[in-house]
């Protein structure tokens, strides 16, 4: 389309010389082409001359074309002769004729037609899931002639595309960027794309660029997608199954990890189940560290081997009604019987052990019961020979059996060294041990023990006994053997412990003195074996007068009881005066006895 003469081509035959077009490519220069028209005689070069008028001042004049290009019939205006926004008028002049048309006036910015962009290329953006369509990104560079970098020209582009053999072009929206996306192209078809440019907010487009061809053939991806999908599905299902199996099989552990159990308070060595079952003997045993010493098995077996313990218990339940001697005898007999019957090696009981050292202190009144001798033998390491202290307590013979109650497993006692079990700790600090003491002690304690053994001793009797025993050895050791079950509840359960306290030095168990040197030989390794000290709740009442009781001073390393005679004890008791020591109740103490323990 020409700028000047839209109808000129129709009338070119009759029309004279005229300008066909003036175009600027970069807004810095422009060219004008003319045609001689129908008058051929003016077609020779130089026959027509171009003049232009630049209306930049009122006094401007026509000037001739600065540069001719005759072969093109073109007049070129370079940058020096080009001014934008200033009206130009061009005319042709012949020999004497001037061919001028007012339409041939223009301003440079209105005749700008930018060159087409260069370096077109395209990239595939994506393919539709159906595999039928795809999108393409076309990119290019601005025409080099247009100085876009300086901002002198602002170009916008228009992309047109069509199928290879189509006739109509599809035009996309004009935009100033150097790339644009074409959507919805079909796979398998070839497309032709070209671009043209124009100044922003102007109407004249430049020429189209050279076409590029876009074609995307089918991608055989479907073959891969189907098996891949199946593999993924099966893989996921398999993994899930494995996880479920793991979870189910390791349910407990997982629950432990996820929801760890709250630790309940526990005491080392104590099983709450024991408490629930009431197995106090075991509990006491544990408390006394029996388990640590490796003794529990022994201790439990020890008791188990002595059914006479229970036997005694039965006696305790008997009413006090029976005279002491009867009870004593019965107890003694029982005691005597049991070891012979049930306990091996009890025959040795009849043989006084030299270690027991009891002989000297033995009272002749002691019954000939083997048990008594056994009892004597149960007192190892006691320098009874040198002491006559036991004579006093010998007055009561009837109480011998008490000692005899210690028969149970005398040999065992001997083997383990004599040790006594504290059946009770007096408020004054005296310790009540079960029988297993020398006969004198038996006498002293027999009454009380008898009563205790009988169980359910009444205070009067106890006190009576106490009175009787005032002159007697100053201490009485009640070795109480707990029953196999449920000891704590009964006050009656005063059972002579099998092992007499070994810590009794010379006084023949009358006083357990904290004389490790004396007691050690016999005491070594025995006191530890005393499973526990069971203070009787009723016993404190029996032994308040103190004289018959000693204070457990301490436990030596072997857990043997080291008793101290109470301060009120008479020196005739063959008890070396020992400084009182603070009684230290050790072992198992029932809560209800705590009150009694306080001095």
């Amino acid at each position: 389309p020409t700028f000047f003469c839209s109808s000129c081509q129709l009338q070119s035959a009759t029309l004279g010389p005229h300008f066909t077009d003036c175009i600027s490519r970069d807004q810095e220069t422009f060219r004008c082409w003319w045609s001689p028209g129908s008058l051929q005689n003016l077609s020779s070069p130089g026959a027509l001359r171009v003049f232009y008028l630049k209306k930049d001042s009122p006094t401007s004049a026509w000037k001739e074309c600065p540069e001719y290009i005759h072969e093109n019939r073109e007049c070129f205006f370079d940058a020096n002769h080009t001014s934008v926004w200033i009206p130009y008028c061009v005319q042709l002049r012949g020999q004497n004729v001037t061919y001028f048309n007012e339409d041939d006036c223009f301003t440079v910015e209105n005749i700008v037609r930018p060159d087409p962009p260069v370096s077109l290329n395209w990239t595939l953006l994506n393919i539709s899931p159906s595999g039928l369509n795809y999108d393409v990104l076309v990119s290019w560079k601005p025409p080099p002639s247009a100085d876009v970098g300086v901002g002198w020209m602002r170009i916008e582009y228009e992309i047109q595309y069509r199928e290879r053999n189509a006739t109509n072009w599809e035009a996309l929206e004009k935009q100033p960027h150097t790339q644009q996306t074409i959507y919805g192209l079909q796979i398998g078809k070839e497309y032709e794309v070209h671009i043209r440019s124009r100044m922003q907010a102007f109407v004249k487009f430049g020429e189209f660029s050279d076409s590029i061809f876009i074609e995307v053939t089918e991608i055989p991806s479907k073959d891969y997608t189907v098996p891949l999908t199946l593999v993924l599905i099966f893989g996921v299902v398999g993994v899930l199954t494995v996880i479920m199996l793991i979870v189910i099989s390791q349910q407990q552990r997982i629950m432990m990890i996820l929801l760890p159990p709250v630790p309940a308070p526990k005491i080392k060595g104590i099983d709450s189940e024991l408490l629930k079952k009431g197995k106090l003997e075991e509990l006491n045993f544990i408390l006394n560290g029996g388990g640590v010493d490796g003794l529990p098995a022994y201790a439990t077996d020890f008791y188990q081997e002595e059914p006479w313990v229970e036997f005694i218990e039965v006696d305790e339940e008997d009413a006090e009604g029976g005279d002491k001697e009867d009870n004593y005898n019965s107890d003694t007999q029982r005691l005597l019987g049991l070891p012979h019957r049930n306990i091996e090696g009890f025959s040795a009981i009849s043989h006084p052990d030299d270690d027991s050292g009891r002989a000297s202190c033995y009272d002749t009144d002691l019954p000939e019961h083997d048990t008594q001798r056994l009892m004597a033998s149960l007192l190892p390491g006691q320098p009874e020979d040198n002491e006559t202290c036991l004579d006093a307590p010998a007055s009561e013979t009837g109480e011998k059996p008490l000692i005899q109650t210690q028969i149970g497993g005398p040999q065992t006692w001997v083997n383990t060294d004599l040790y006594a079990q504290v059946s009770n700790v007096m408020p004054s600090g005296g310790v009540v041990l079960s029988p297993g003491q020398q006969p004198k002690i038996q006498e002293n304690t027999s009454g009380s023990e008898r009563e205790t053994q009988k169980g359910g001793k009444q205070n009067e009797d106890v006190e009576g006994i106490k009175e009787q025993k005032r002159n007697e050895p100053q201490f009485q050791l009640f070795v109480v053997v707990p029953e196999g079950g449920g000891y704590t509840a009964e006050n009656n359960t005063q059972q002579t412990s099998t092992p007499p306290s070994t810590s009794v030095p010379g006084a023949g168990y009358q006083t357990i003195q904290p004389q490790p040197m004396e007691t050690k030989p016999a005491a070594t390794g025995d006191a530890n074996e005393s499973p526990y000290i069971l203070p009787e709740p009723s016993q404190p009442q029996l032994f308040t007068p103190v004289a018959d009781y000693t204070v457990v001073q301490e436990l030596d390393t072997h857990r043997s009881l080291l008793l101290n005679p109470p301060p009120s004890q008479s020196p005739s008791l063959c008890q070396p005066q020992h400084p009182l020591k603070v009684p230290m109740p050790v072992g198992y103490v029932t809560p209800d006895l705590l009150g009694n323990l306080t001095p």
Binding site: Q27, V84, W85, P87, E102, T107
Partner: protein, 212 residues
Amino acid sequence: ALCSRLSSMRAASSCTNGQTGCHFLSLANLFDRVIQHSARMHGISNDLHSEFELYFLPSKNQIGRVSRNCHTSTILTPNGKENAQRIAREELTEVILKLLVAWREPLWHFHQNMAQHREFNNFSSNKSLEMSEMVHELRRGVQKVVEKMQMLGVINSSLGNLGSPEALLASDRAEWRLMNDYDLLYCFRRDSNKIQNYLKILKCRIIPEHGC
């Protein structure tokens, strides 16, 4: 498309005042905004001019008869790329502002006249109104750009008198009334292109790295 581009530019210009690079980025964004604005203004003026030609069927001599000067011809403007690049920044900015100031009142009057003509449809009438408003907005935008440039030290502060550019054109105030509507549209079309061109050149001279 213009609105979206303006909004995106608005978002991009929201940076803190602590960094020089950010300042230049905000200045570039300001420039882009005013350039876009001027481009739109020029487009509207182009449309109006074409419609005016269509409606009033001016003779083909119209272009040839554009010998009368526009009222803004007295403003010296660079007429070529090299001239525009050689001129000082301050002077180029001053030219832009002068042009914008000179066209505010004539366009407003043009709109008033066009509203009365029944030949002009509503669409053209809206365009003339929009055109007159855009001139005013563009002038304010360019003044903001100038202030930013002065803050950044890009240009000297010798343009202080531009706050009241009416003083510069006091002598030209009456000349525009002599033009007819067509000439006015023609002249404004030319001047809007000048403004657009000068703004782009100015931006690419000051901040060449952002979109030139």
